[in-house]
Structure formats: C-alpha cells, structure tokens
Amino acid sequence: MKYEAVIGLEIHIQLNSATKIFCDCANTPGDDPNTNVCPVCLWLPGALPVLSREVLEKATIACLSLNCEIQSESAFDQKVYYYPDLPKGFQLSQAHKPLAKKGWVEIQDEQGRPKRLRLHHVHMEEDVAKLVHETEGRVPISLVDFNRAGTPLIEVVTEPDFRSPHDAMEFLKAIRNQVRYTGCAECSMESGTMRCDANISIRPEGSDQLNTKVEVKNMNSIHHVGDAIAYEIKRQIDAVNNNEPIILHTRLWDPEKRVTTAMRAKFEGPCIPDPSVPTIVLDDAWLETMKSRLPEMPAQKVKRFVQDYSLTHDEAVLMSSERGLSEFFESVVTHGAPPRMTAGWIATQLLPALKAHQQTLAETRVTPQRFASLIQLLEKDEINSNSAKSVLEKLFEMDGTPEEIVEKFGFRQVSDAADLAKLVDQVLSDNASAVENYKNGNKKSMGFLVGQAMKASRGKANPKLVQKMIKDLLA
C-alpha cells in the first residue's frame, strides 16, 4: 500500500521586545545567568503578571504578517505542568482564547506551483526557565537560569496541511521571512529564537482519515526539520508494514545519529483561565494602528520591484528576501544607480563579499551611497567590471568615495582611442596565429585577442572599445 504523511507544525518564535512579557526585566536571555530577574519572573509568592504593551503589539504585528484574524478578545490560561524549568507549576499561555486565528502562508510545492498552507491559530505565552545540567562532578546537578523565564513567545500552530519534508521546510522559511520582515523577531532556529515541533502521522494515500500522531522535537535548523520528518515518515511506514502499532508519544531528533528516539513525556494537565491577567480586548482603531505599522511585505514588494524597476521576477524575489536587503537595494537605486545592474551586482558581488568579510548590510562600510557611486562609475564606462570588483574590495577596506579610490589606485578605464590603438596594434602583431584563425572564421579567437589586450593594459582598457577596434582592423 502507498502511504502519505500528514504533518502539522508547532513553531515557537521569541519576540524581540525590550522587556519580558509580564515584567520589566530585559529580554536578553543570553546574559549572565539569573541577572535579568525580579519577583514577577522568579514567580515569587504575591507577584502579579502585568502584560507588556510592546509584546502585545509585536505579537499582533507578527500575526498580521501571517494573514491571521486578530481576535477582539483573547485571554491567558494557566497551563499546568510540573518540571524544574517551571517552578510555579503553570505556564501562562493562551489555550482557550488565542490572540489570532486562521491565517496562511504561501510556498512553492516540489513542482514549483504555489501552495497555501493554513494556520490554525497563533497564541502568546511566556517561556520557561532554562535548565543547565552539570554532569562533570561526582554528583550531577541541574542549575536553573531564570533569564529566559517570562521571555515572550508566540506559538504558531498549523493545520495538518503538510504532506512532505519539503512543505515543512518551505513553510518555515516562509514564516521566518514574513515575521523577520516585521522586525518583531529574529526567527533563527540556530540561535533558538525559532523552535519547531512536528506532529506526524501517516495514512493510505488518498484517504482523509487522521491517524495517531507522533510529536518530534529538538530540531535546531530548518534542514534538521526536513531530515527528522523524512526519518519519522519512513519509521512509521516501516512500523505499519511490520504490523506494529503507532502510539501517541514524543520523540527527539538526534542530529548526530540522524534518527528519532522516544522520550518520556512531561506530565501536562488541562488549562484553567488565569485570574490575574485581564482579558485582552482590542478595538478596531487599535488594530488599524497595528496594520499601519505592518511594513510592505515581500509579496507586494516583489510586484512593485518588477513594475517600478523592471527587475525580473527572480531578481525581485531575491532583492525582497530580507527587509534590510530590500531597503539597501532601494536606497542604492534612489542614489541614482540603474536598478537591474544594482540588483545583479548586489547578488553576484556584494552579498558574497559581505559573507567573506563576515559583515551584515547593517554594519558594513559599504553604504548605499558608496555602492551607488560605484555602480554609476561602471554604468558610465568610467571603470570596467574588473576594476569595479577591485574598487568594491577597497570600499570594505577604506573610507573615501569610489571616485577617489579610482583616482588614487588608477582604476580608470582607458577609453582614449589613440592609447588603445597603440595597444591593439601591438597585440595583433604579437599574436599572428590567433589573427589568422579569426580571419578563417574561428570567432573564439576574438575573445583571446581582447583578453591579451586587457592583460597588456593591466585590466584598465575598455573591453568593448578594444573589441570594436580589433573587429574593424581585421574586417
């Protein structure tokens, strides 16, 4: 029998608000252990949670970017479980009345066709403390770091619309892009600001039954999610083929061994409404304000880039993939650089150079203004592309405008006909056999001859002019 997988995801995203969700402690869990704590987030007796406005706003904007319906009324519940990372015995989470319902994200399926994946809801919750297990000494001990306790999360719960690891991975990339665009979260699986659990079951292809699902946790990259799901689908199909039952439980992905292994479940009870955090009531005016704070999202931006700047669809997608990148691109264009040449140079030269220098667009010395001047020099044939690459390298190393750098290092392109004529004459007389070949119809020889001329000029000759002169001379 042929089986298909039914997959749903639960994704926790840590919001980047300045404070924790219910107190004024800094939302920087990586600081020295237990430095960002107070009676509220230590959950001491008598302390009351006060919902942060900023967290509510950022959560709402993130939900809007995922096309969710924001609920006019939502509330927090106490999700009861006992574990040392949660010493008060319950986590404040929105179990019964989430902040947002529905929503969708569009991805491309394996055949490149657009596919919409639906969300069930998005809710807010507080993160729990972090356990650090020290096993080195004679007696293993577990330490609790409360810096993370009370940091704000949204949990995105999807419909079981996914059929393959591909869907899940594309979905994660898509929501990461959307939410990052809003500036409300970093969404990095590697650094733990985005975490994903997958619920997986299988069924005979074409059936619409929902079978017992298995939850898989502990994937800390998008690729791990894909690998873990692929492994788990195969494991379940093998089990069914061997007449073994699928039991509801949780498994951990082991990235070293590339397998999932069963784990003991935490005890979880039902949720009761929290009596201390008031019901969140949102009116239309507030919601409109939040909508106005939603930036132009990638899909709209792609359309506009194609329309306004005549980029190809692929170029526009690339230039819109990150908000910072799209803003850099537009800024360069606003400084007068031609859009398509700019997009091409960002993609093929600037991004790889940034990577080599381990810099980001936000911090690099290559400002939009300097990059725009460089592209303009190239466009006006004042430098050739070889020189432009050298100038770009200098822009990383030193201050000064590209014009100054061109002058200082003599990168200006030689376009003077008299200078070039001398150079071309020399090249043609030095390479008689290539000239012969060209005249006999071997067009490749032209490339060789131009290359020799460029070399003789130490890269500064205008290659287009050189080619034209050789052509004319040999015609």
Partner: protein, 414 residues
Amino acid sequence: MESEIFTYINASARPGTGPMEDTRVAVESGISVENWPTDAQSRALENYVALEDATLITRLRDAGAALKGRTAMGELGLGLDGDTCGDALTKGLSDVALKIDTTGEARMAAAISGCFGFKPTYGLIPRAGLISLIPSMECCGILSNSLEAISTTTRTMGGVDERDPSMDPDGIDQAMAGFDQSGPSQDDPLIVGVIRDWHTAMGLEDKEFKAAVKKINTAAGIEIKTVDIKDFSLARTVHNIIGTVEASSSAGRFDSVRYGHRTGASVKNWNEMYIHSRGESFGPLVKAYLFQGGYFQYRDYNAFLDACRIRARLMASLEKALESVDLIVLPVAAGAVVESEASNTVSGFYDTFSLTLLANLTGNPSVSIPGAVSPGTTNGDAARKALQLIGPRFDDAGLLARASRISDILTGEV
C-alpha cells in the same frame, strides 16, 4: 501577652504622619511586608521573607500607620484555625487588623471576636503582594472596632496600582469618590433586601436572623424587601469548585526548591522531592482542598466550566437585586460553625463559610456587624448573631455608612 497573639512583633513600629498616624495595624503573614517573615502560616513558605511590600502596605506606611506585627492565621488563608487577628483588636493591641478574605475569613473572624469586618469590592485594593490560594476572590479584609477606622483604612489602601492589572479603573474612581462625598445620612429612606428562602434550600435556621431583621424594620425610614438571587443555594458548590481548582493551580509554586520546607527524606529524583516536600508541608485542610481542585481540574473539568457559568449568573443576579434595594442582609453564619480540629475537612470549612462566600464569588463589598459577644459566647453563637451586609460593587463608602446606621439600630443607639 503580645507574643501569644503576634507571631512576629515589629520592634521598630512607630507611627508616621498622615491620616492614619494614630492607627496601629496588625498584618497577617499572607500579606507581604518587606523584610518580615511572610509564610502565610504554611510550612511550604517556612522562613520566607518578603522582598517587597504589598502595595497596600506601602500606602499604609505613607499614611503614617504603625505596623505592629504578624498575627497568626489559617494555613495559606484557608479557614480560621489558630487565627489571632481578632484577639489583637479585643486585647487592645492594635486598632486595625488586616486579613485576606477569600471565603469570608475576615468577616467571620470579626464576628467571632465582636468587631466589624469588611471585605471591600474585589479590585478596589491592589492584590500585589497578597499570598492566598484563590486569586479571583482574594481581597484584603479589614477588621476593627470602629467602622470609621475601617473606612479610613479602605480609602488609604484603595486605588489603581500599576502592579495589579486586574483592577477596574472606572470602578475605583467611583469608589474613591464615594469616600469624598458626604454619603447617605441617617434619615434617608433605606431599603434593605432579604434573599427569598435563603435558609430553606440550605437547611439552615433563621430564627435569630428574623429577630434582627424585625428590629431593623422598626427603625424609621427603613423598608425590608424580599429579593430573588437565582442559584443562591449553588453558591457554596460553585465556590468549592472554582476555589479548589484555582488553589490547586496556585499552590504549584510551593515546590520546596527556592523557599519553604524541603524534605529530608532521601529521594531518587525531583518528582519524589516535590511529593515528599509538599506532603510534609501542607496541613490536612490545604491537602484536602488541593486534592479536590486536582479532581475537578483533571477528572471533571466540565464541572469547573459549569461553575464559572453559574458564578457569572450569580453576579448578574446579585447586581440586579441591588438595583431594587440599597443592600442585602444575611447572617454571617446560620448553621454549624466548626470550631475545632474537625474544621480540617473541606465540607466542615464550607459549612462554616456557607453564607459569607457569596460576596467573594461576586466581588461585592460586604461588611459584618457583630452581635452581642460576652466572654461565654461560643464562636458559633457569635457568628450566628452577627449580620453581614452586601452592597453594590464600588459603593464601599455607602455600604460602610449604612452599616453604621444599622449597627446603631441593633445596639439600640437609635
């Protein structure tokens, strides 16, 4: 003698200046006072010292009150086993005593010791710094021999607090304005409501109550009117379910890891540590209470949902009744008031507080007026002779003024 009543005496208690500069205040140990032992009388909080003042304590300090020390209380605010806050007043050791009221504890303690007990409107006085088991009902109650002192204390402690987001700013404005106005006079017509059949459904006796109501009715300008409170007889069960469920969840933080008693038994893992520590920490009533909450939470959640719905109906019904009367009068107790070790059962607990818990469920203000108490009076008799008045939410000043008038009538001063 002080040491029999106070579990902790504030050696540096001295009055400041302000509206409460002549007032000595006893504070039970479920209300946080910075650097004071704050164990809510539970081993689960053994040696716990509060890091900060409850907001209401800060406000009392600012008003010049002298904080006397800690009185003993029932474990985690449940019931009155070993409670000494009434004694602090009757023995003249303080002028006002503060006691968290989640089921009627402050009003009952006052009735037993022959003084006034007041539970303000839920949300008028900040909850920040209170330690109890039932957050949706917890409210700082005030006991005193003087209704005027209760009124001043309420006014001092009341008002919006940014640490407590569950407060209702509009209601608070209304309530605080009430303390500034002259309020109802002794000659205004007053309509007193009596809940229809309040005793029959619960199998309680109403003889003493009838006599008290008759006496009130003889006073000039007072009319007695019967009101209907839908589901009144279910209030006890509703409180039982919601109270125990909230308690079961709230008590989760007493895990013995960061404070309180930790077991000395050798344990294999942290789950065993929790179980032993909690088993050794909680007394029988708290244990039974948490067990019931666990039952409803895990085995009969629908009962909890039903209880929440009936609670909402009770609130609406009481609010409607209070549109046609100025206040509602009930005895503080009518049936058995369990006075001894036997109070360590949940049913005994609810027998005792069956009539006071309505105001905790609905959040309305309620004040108890003591009956005649002499040295020979049993606690049960004292509670049965005491009356409680329930008024509209956020009309705390009005209720206290009317309580003064009714108290005068009952003691024959009018």
